[in-house]
Amino acid sequence: MILNELELLDRLTDPDPGRRVIITPIVNPREQFGPTSVDIRLGTDFKVVDVANVAFLDPTAGPASDQAPLMRSYRVPPERAFILHPGEFALAASMEFVRVPADISVRVEGRSSWGRLGLLIHATAGFVDPGFAGSITFELHNVSRVPIALYPGVRIAQLCFFAGNPTRLPYDQKTYTKYSGKTGAYESNYHLDPEYETIRRHRRAPGPAGR
């Protein structure tokens, strides 16, 4: 069930911290609240891949596949813009910190104003698990033919909240959680997925199947 504005207000003010939804800061509710959504803003943190130093991305390369050294970080003060050029991809973080309880999941959606300009705010990861806490990461992609200036503080996406039965596996308690509690634009930790270690081990093993 998607929450409407009064149901969301109920959750935002729930006396039980375990049931309470946290969105902070809320700058201007009149601007941000819709019938079944809350607009969120762009933060100050941006990251782009430093392509000059990357041959290709291979998650099986062990520590060498860690993206962190390959990313260039930008911290953009208010009133200044981060320019996203046509075809360029960048990570960014929401200005808001969001925490959802074990019975709420969230969809991150773009805003039509930006969509009409050719700005996508997530590539494929638009779902927030129950139990998540942290900033929302945007995977910004400019599919238009003109550069777009992005200012911290502008409303860039919207969150839709869905209530269901409480999960026993909230995100912050999952075995392989990689992004819980993060408050900035963090690069992918894809290489930490356990299946790549399995592949690496298999490669090292002697025999016809090994390399």
Binding site: L9, P15, P77, F97, A133
Partner: protein
């Protein structure tokens, strides 16, 4: 910025831990004498410090095996067998502060007919003495890039010792408020003595507590008695501006504090007094002892300390602390109930209730203070938790750096929030 601070974190942490052990050893020596008549105020304070340090001492002894079980360091600090002038100076500072605390207590007792200070004033004073024994880690320093952009105005005095500030402010406000207000309820010389001692103990916070009272003085009262030859009003046994001057002199005498005071006054200068009438030529509006022509925009108030407390609670829970709610949860829930009861609920009715969700950005100082308070309160638990891990230093560092990241994000977000709010 985190990466820049990380290398500096560990040596400082180790010095802090060593200092804790040194403090514990000294405090134990203070309270070693069981004779009740030997329990001086200093020993009582040291006893309380010892109680605090006891909580973490067992774990620390494992980290520093060179410390003897009784807390007596093998060398002076356990890390530096050759002795440490820094630790010696801190020991001297603790003893000095204990002396001054006792003097303040004695001075308060001497005031006849005074309104008794609230008990928590002394609790806070004692906490300050306790803090003096806990050299804080550096979490957030000045970020030159942000300062150049005007992103985070961070006065030096806040960067140096933000943790102590809210507690000092509360203590100062309580002490300043504890003064007698009725006629004949205190000798001016006793009040001067108290002001000098309180200023030496509480620093600029005490001056600001007096300045807050000065700003809040009733309309028409001319606290500045310079134009009338320093006459004392019927309401105050000693004019507030004279007391502020006494504090300024005391701060000047102590050097560093005077520097902080001057700088802070400059930070607060806006050219007018909010809520007050513009100064006239006949009314001395600047408290003497302050920079000529500079007036207060506002003193550090209890609300600042409460905001820091709110930030500390959020940060301790791992939640961003860039803003605080403008309305409490109860009022918002009551508004929602009213909406549900409406037969014809219009969008404007909903928006009026939703408006209560608006949050107010915290100042950089409030966030920093909250960060320090969160660190202070969680330090023992984090150390205890870290000691159970295979790599205690790394485990403790992860906690500290996570708090660091949250404080930084809070500072950045509050900056953007203030900009957005300016357009509302």
């Amino acid at each position: 910025m985190i990466a820049e601070f990380a290398p500096a974190l560990w040596p400082r942490s180790l010095r802090t831990l060593a200092t804790l052990m040194s403090r514990l050893a000294r405090a134990r020596r203070f309270v070693a004498d069981p004779a009740p008549e030997a329990r001086t105020p200093e020993a009582a304070v040291a006893g309380r410090i010892a109680e605090r340090l006891e909580r973490v001492s067992d774990g620390l002894a494992e980290v520093f095996p060179q410390m003897a079980p009784g807390g007596q360091p093998a060398g002076r600090s356990g890390l530096d067998p050759a002795g440490s002038p820094e630790l010696d100076a801190m020991d001297a500072r603790l003893a000095s502060i204990s002396d001054r605390l006792a003097a303040v207590e004695r001075a308060l007792v001497k005031l006849p007919g005074q309104i008794p200070p609230p008990p928590e004033a002394f609790e806070v004073l004692q906490a300050i003495v306790g803090d003096a024994s806990l050299a804080p880690l550096v979490l957030v320093g000045e970020d030159l890039e942000f300062d150049a952009d005007g992103f985070i105005p961070l006065p030096v005095w806040l960067a140096l010792a933000p943790l102590e500030w809210p507690r000092r402010a509360i203590a100062a406000l309580d002490l300043a408020g504890a003064h007698p207000v009725g006629p004949g309820s205190g000798r001016p010389e006793d009040i001067r003595q108290l002001d000098r001692l309180a200023a030496s103990l509480l620093g600029p916070a005490y001056g600001f507590a007096l300045a807050e009272r000065w700003l809040a003085r009733p309309a028409g009262s001319v606290e500045s008695q310079a134009a009338t030859g320093g006459a004392v009003s019927a309401q105050e046994p000693l004019a507030l501006d004279e007391r502020i001057a006494t504090v300024a002199v005391e701060l000047e005498r102590s050097g560093l504090l005077a520097g902080e005071f001057r700088r802070t006054v400059q930070d607060l200068a806006v050219g007018q007094i909010p809520g007050g009438s513009p100064p006239s030529a006949t009314q001395g509006s600047d408290p003497p002892g302050l920079t000529a022509g500079v007036r207060f925009a506002g003193a550090y108030r209890r609300a600042d300390a409460e905001a820091a407390e709110f930030a500390a609670q959020r940060l301790s829970a791992g939640i961003l602390a860039s803003a605080r709610p403008s309305e409490d949860l109860g009022a918002l829930r009551a508004g929602r109930e009213r909406l549900l009861a409406l037969e014809d609920c219009k969008p404007e009715d909903v928006y009026q209730v939703l408006d209560g969700l608006r949050e107010v950005p915290l100042s950089a100082a409030q966030i920093l203070n909250g960060g320090w308070l969160a660190l202070e309160r969680n330090r023992a638990a984090w150390l205890s938790e870290a000691l159970a891990s295979p790599d205690p230093a790394r485990a403790f560092g992860r906690r500290v750096l996570a708090l660091d990241a949250l404080v930084l994000k809070s500072l950045e977000t509050a900056g953007v929030h203030r900009l957005m709010e300016a357009g509302l």
